[in-house]
Amino acid sequence: MKEPSKQTVEVPVATGDEDRYRLRMGPQHPATHGVLRVDLELDGETIVACDPQVGYLHRGIEKLAENRTYAQTLILTDRLDYIAAMSNNCGFCVAVEKLLAITPPLRARYIRTIVNEMSRLASHLLWLATHALDIGAMTVFLYCFREREILLELFEELCGARLTFSYPRIGGVRQDVNAYFIDGLQRFIDIFPEKILEYETLIDTNRIWLKRTVGIGKVSREKALSLGLTGACLRASGVDYDVRKHQPYDAYDLVDFEVPIGQEGDSYARYRCRMEEMRQSVRILQQCIDQLPPGPIVGEDAPDLHMSQRIIPFREARVSAYGTGLIALSHKTKPTYPAGDIYVATEVPKGELGFYIISDGSPRAYRMHIRSPSFIHISALTALSEGGLVADLITNIGSVDVVLGESDR
């Protein structure tokens, strides 16, 4: 019989105290939502030091974007927040449109708003599912996936993909919506508010749920702004900041909705904010369906693949000098790429997704920085979790809603 050896993986010491129990949570851990690693120092079960580590999913998207045309970069944005890929696509398209001074037609803007809100719902449903599962409420998980499945099927009907869509295009969207999609969406909108009520019945007034979330991971208004939190995390702390209202893009200035603001800034407030956001998303979707105007789905000045009802074979379309199929120009002249820099933020389910794009006149971005909310939210985990228990860390990771693909880029 062999002696069990005493070798262990050394976890870096933050406080320098040798007596602490050092725990490396992740990158393979069921509650870290992907490949997040958190190095913990514990005193009993109290977290003394918490050091999140990211980068396991770093694919160098910013570097790749410097070597690809804008249209080719679009497919990379799918891989940021793969739970709400549509929102990233839209955000990127809005940014490039602003850079190239293109206005998409109204119908395209409405369609984008629809898919944006749908992906917000899909993302929030997945968030609620996993957050509840982390806290131990297992049934909510499956209820949420039941509704998320409807959304994914609608996406599939719209563009053939369920996860990585690449559906919005610079200057419009790829294909028009059909009647089946609108019907399905309408049916979904009709049933969904009841379903939200169903989730709330399960967990909202559950004593254990309240005990696990109220007062956990509390951030004050000032602290939240200082940490750079955005999205529901910031609004739960009482800051009225929603890019959809502050700097409207797509059709958000044409629809009526409210931004739910919380007070407490704890996990429960974040949960409440997101639940209300789902209700508002349903409102936006209903208005978009009702108001959806007729017209083209790609702008006249779009430099991108013009895909109307007639799908142009790639051979026919003039392929750009840098393109390899995805990008093709319907234009008689090559588009001119101006030189300048632009920062455009959009409200994705996780928070504020910003694209800072510098163009030096070539068809590729000279530099593209992605301000990813997850990256900043993960950095805030330290402030949220230190002094709490291990179980609170799990609640916090769930309630700030991070996606590692977006964080690591």
Binding site: S226, G228, Y366, R371
Partner: protein
């Protein structure tokens, strides 16, 4: 407040520091010298009619291959926004090619911590007084700063950690965990033929592992497939103890 007006106020307040003001698509960027960046940002954050309380983004830029003219090699760009007054401004701090460094703004926004670490990671720009300036996305022993323009897209060489990982796979393969990867004829030619089995088969982690002889054969194949010099001849435990 209009972005242009903010830039003008900034210029009157810190006339020494402002190099230039550029505007594109209604967005105004102020080019700054690096020395006074913390006071400037503090002023922008705290002054009553600006209240830029939200640091939207902080990123680095390498200007060396920019077609348009540029004043300095590196830039650090700050995107500021006021959640109350709903206006924004972009500050671009110019840094020289040699030893680029700028003061850290973690004291103003604690969320800048990781953003600055990322800029350090990707560009090698140092931030003075940063509490924990080390790489964030890349491994600590990574060589070079990938977002600098001279860094090739495919990278320079295999990361040491991956090399070690392959070594580890080779070791574990003695236990019959992994099927041998397809051996490429060309690679096999360059690698040392008949590389010796570096370690004796240890006590199997799984007690019911395959027969030892089969394990040895597999290891030999993998060793041939890997580039030469990968084998350090150490077992896992020896290396961990070292």
């Amino acid at each position: 407040m209009e972005q242009r007006a903010i830039a003008d106020t900034l210029k009157t307040q810190f006339s020494e520091e402002v190099v230039d003001i550029v505007e594109y698509q209604g967005q105004v960027g102020v080019l700054l010298r690096p020395d006074q960046i913390v006071p400037i940002l503090r002023w922008l954050r705290d002054s009553a009619d600006l209240r830029m309380d939200h640091l939207r983004a902080l990123c680095g830029v390498d200007n060396s291959k920019r077609k348009t003219s540029y004043p300095e090699r590196f830039e650090v760009v700050y995107q500021l926004y006021s959640t109350e007054l709903r206006h924004e401004i972009r500050l671009r701090v110019l840094l020289p090619e040699k030893d680029p460094h700028v003061d850290s703004v973690v004291s103003l926004w604690s969320g800048a911590n990781w953003l600055e670490r990322e800029v350090f990671d990707m560009f090698g720009i140092r931030f003075n007084q940063h509490p924990n300036l080390k790489r964030v996305l890349l491994p600590d022993d990574w060589e070079g700063h990938p977002l600098r323009k001279e860094y090739p897209l495919k990278g320079r060489k295999e990361w040491q950690g991956l090399v070690e990982l392959k070594e580890r796979i080779q070791e574990l393969d003695q236990h019959g965990f992994y099927p041998p990867p397809p051996v490429e004829a060309k690679k096999g030619g360059t690698a040392k033929k008949g590389a010796k089995n570096p370690v004796e088969p240890q006590k199997t982690v799984a007690q019911a592992a395959g027969p030892a002889s089969a394990g040895k054969e597999k290891t030999a194949t993998v060793a041939a497939a890997l580039p030469a010099g990968v084998n350090t001849g150490k077992t896992l435990r020896e290396r961990d103890q070292a």
